[in-house]
């Protein structure tokens, strides 16, 4: 495997450029782990090879008109190390990421123990480097033990490589604690990510409130709880001037507040999970626990509002919210079953449903899955531009398949898409010019 300081020439590729918002046939040259040149010609001529000093040993990849896009930057991947390695390890998550075209996993700190000290972060860095074939950027908890009381050592953790700070689904309930965290983080330029939710209203809820919840007799939360959490967070951002990203929005009711905050110039971005863009409350059907996620799947109107918000740019980021759960934690009555779904490998094919439905263009999808998350974290990836890292995904957006959960790379198989028809296959994934997935 000669993949050292190699040069790769991708020819006859349908180049998806989220920054320019274009897709066109062309070719791309990568060398030394970076993109060096992008050409509008489908094939690179012999003359150009000589002019650019491209060695004869260069790898020539004929993309055959298939898509070549910047690799996905996925904010909010749960790798269950430390604590629950039987659910997912850095190796299996990394393989799943590579198989799904995700070249950067931004990992969640809601492990056991939580990643809330430089020492635990050190462990994550070491394991990630040993085992994962893709880039891993860890996030750290915002408060110690994700308890919402004392802030973590944001400075030390930042030095150790934490790219953002979040307590994940544990909402920092005390507004004073949250305000201080945001203020302190602002001094370091650190990004705070929060899951907006009024935890009083959402306590014990398993599904979204509505006719379906009533029929199924399940404890439910109104989407208004998300709006309340978001409005509170945005008020604190306005008060403190912190850098804030709301992950995992799901309710249309919160969007006006988000729009106002952005128009007022607050340093605010927002994300949505792929499940809330492609599934709705009725998918739960007869208590199917693989569809139990947090926040719960919402009404169809909410889903459509989320898709529209991604199209308009109001919502910046699409994430997998990859959350592995073993069979035992899902084979329970719905209320008792664990939340979350694996999604690293299904993120792109599921997102392509929105493309095939005519709701989002390919550049818009990769703006939300690669360019925007990279920019928000201050990374130079997520784009097809000279100088950017050669993190690339080659895929056929039309190839059909039926998903078999037991063929997933993830150790846990809890996907809501099992047995469903999907359209769009990852052909190859490259990290720093090295092929990590595909033939």
């Amino acid at each position: 495997m000669n993949q050292g300081n190699l040069t790769t020439v991708f020819q006859n590729a349908r180049l998806i450029d989220p920054a320019a918002g274009t897709e066109q046939i062309g070719s791309l040259i990568a060398s030394g782990g970076k993109i060096t040149e992008i050409l509008t010609q489908a094939t690179v001529s012999k003359e150009l090879f000589r002019a650019r000093n491209i060695p004869d040993s260069a790898d020539i990849v004929d993309c055959d008109g298939k898509c070549l896009a910047p690799g996905i930057v996925d904010i909010g991947v749960k790798v269950c190390e430390p604590g629950e390695r039987h659910k997912e390890s850095f190796r299996t998550a990394g393989q799943a990421a590579a198989a799904g075209g995700v070249t950067t996993m931004v990992t969640r700190p809601d492990t056991d123990p939580a990643i809330d000290s430089p020492e635990t972060l050190e462990f994550v860095n070491r394991r990630a480097n040993e085992a994962a074939p893709v880039r891993v950027l860890p996030m750290a908890a915002l408060t110690k033990g994700r308890q919402g009381r004392e802030m973590v050592e944001i400075g030390f953790l930042q030095d150790a490589g934490a790219v953002a700070f979040t307590d994940c689904d544990a909402v920092v309930q005390d507004p004073r604690v949250f305000a201080r965290c945001l203020s302190y983080a602002r001094g370091l330029g650190a990004l705070v990510i929060a899951h907006p939710q009024d935890s009083g209203l959402s306590r014990g809820a398993a599904v979204t409130a509505g006719k379906f919840a009533t029929l199924r007799g399940l404890p439910a939360v109104s989407p208004m709880a998300e709006r309340m959490g978001l409005e509170r967070d945005l008020a604190i951002v306005e008060m403190t001037g912190g850098r804030y990203h709301a992950d995992n929005l799901s309710a249309a009711a919160g969007l006006p507040a988000l729009r106002r905050a952005k128009e007022a110039g607050l340093d605010v971005t927002a994300g949505v999970s792929i499940h809330h863009l492609t599934l709705n409350e009725f998918d739960v059907g007869d208590y199917r626990t693989f569809f139990k996620v947090k926040p719960p799947l919402r009404a169809e109107d909410d889903r459509l509002a989320m898709v529209e918000a991604v199209a308009s740019g109001l919502i910046d980021v699409i994430s997998s919210m990859h959350t592995p759960q073993d069979e035992e934690s899902k084979r329970l009555p719905f209320e008792e079953a664990a939340s979350g779904a694996v999604a690293l490998e299904t993120l792109l094919p599921a997102a392509l449903r929105l493309y095939h439905a005519g709701m989002l263009t390919l550049p818009a999808l990769f703006r939300a899955m690669a360019l925007n998350p990279a920019r928000r974290l201050g990374l130079d990836g997520g784009q097809l531009a000279p100088g950017a890292p050669a993190d690339l995904v080659m895929f056929d957006p039309d190839a059909p398949f039926v998903l078999d959960r037991f063929r997933l790379q993830s150790k846990s198989k809890n996907t809501p898409f099992d047995g469903q028809r999907m359209q769009g296959k990852v052909l190859a994934t490259y990290v720093a010019g090295r092929r990590v997935w595909g033939a």
Partner: protein, 315 residues
């Protein structure tokens, strides 16, 4: 139209014709149960296991009696006291019982959907004896039989269901059943005890008893589920009784021949006046209990026929 079900998990998936044939068969069991000799051998040799993960006296006794009168071997498992406390999962418990080859499994569980989950994992007929806030199909069927016998029909009646709708599986199953049979359904209760978007289920919602009871044929009271009241749904029981407790004064708004029902156990002086509950001219609460045994006998017989355990086609 035959009764096609392999399990009785809820009213939701029953066809109106299936409900009618089940009630018709139940009528014959009411007659049997009123005789001195109350035994048949229809289910001789078959095994019925009652698994109650939640306390129950009345429903469990009713199912037990129903099985015994049909000649089945009946076993009761008090699941609160069993291995579930030792960390065994619901599915493990179900698989263990399944290995003992029961023919009928009667299950009550505190979580909605738990009975559906269990039914997917076992080989025998499962009867839902109440799961969380989801469904309690035999209760709705026995209520329907009681109404049909008292009113002579089970359609085009105006029926009020009153009280703690939010926590009630009885209410859900009754809304589904009475809706399928084309009755007018009114729900009455404080907004805190109404589930979200319940009006989408084809019912009218009232928050005053006086308005809601106007000219109804049937008044169905629900038990205030004090054990599920974790967050102040009502200010006090005395205010609840004042506004929503059924007494002779409030009942005056209903039709003169309106019947009063309650699934039991009653909180006298909370949702219903004790004297009214005992008034044999208005209250059919004792009949409901009687119908319960008959309906459960009919349901078990039909499920066994559908599974080929006993001869004969379902009606």
């Amino acid at each position: 139209m035959t009764f096609r079900q392999n399990h009785l998990l809820g009213i939701e998936h029953l066809h109106p014709d299936e409900i009618v044939s089940l009630l018709d068969l139940s009528d014959s069991y009411v007659d049997l149960n009123r005789r001195d000799h109350k035994h048949t051998d229809k289910l001789t040799g078959l095994t019925q296991i009652n698994m109650f993960f939640e306390n129950s006296t009345r429903t469990q006794a009713s199912f037990e009696l129903a099985g015994k009168r049909l000649g089945a071997d009946v076993m009761n498992m008090a699941m609160q006291a069993s291995s579930i406390k030792k960390g065994e999962t619901l599915i493990d418990t179900a698989m263990t019982l399944n290995a003992m080859h029961p023919d009928l499994l009667v299950v009550r569980h505190p979580h909605s959907g738990a009975v559906n989950l269990l039914a997917e994992k076992v080989n025998c007929a499962v009867l839902n004896a109440g799961d969380g806030r989801h469904e309690h199909p035999t209760q709705a069927l026995l209520d329907a039989l009681t109404i049909r016998r008292a009113k002579g029909r089970l359609h085009r009646l105006s029926i009020a269901i009153c009280g703690d709708i939010a926590h009630s599986r009885v209410a859900r199953s009754n809304i589904l059943l009475l809706g399928k049979m084309e009755n007018r359904i009114r729900l009455i209760g404080p907004p805190t005890l109404m589930p979200s978007e319940v009006s989408e289920l084809g019912v009218e919602v009232f928050d005053s008893m006086q308005d809601g009871l106007a000219d109804v044929d049937v008044v169905m009271m629900l038990r205030l589920q004090r054990e599920r009241m974790d967050g102040g749904f009502i200010p006090s029981e005395r205010e609840y009784y004042h506004r929503y407790g059924l007494d002779a004064e409030k009942l005056r708004h209903a039709r003169d021949d309106a019947i009063v029902m309650h699934p039991g156990p009653m909180n006298r002086g909370v949702e219903i006046d004790g004297t009214l509950a005992d008034d044999i001219n208005r209250s059919v609460i004792q009949e409901q209990v009687e119908m319960g045994v008959a309906v459960r006998m009919a349901a078990m017989e039909l499920l066994c026929r559908n599974r080929g355990l006993i001869p004969g086609d379902a009606p």
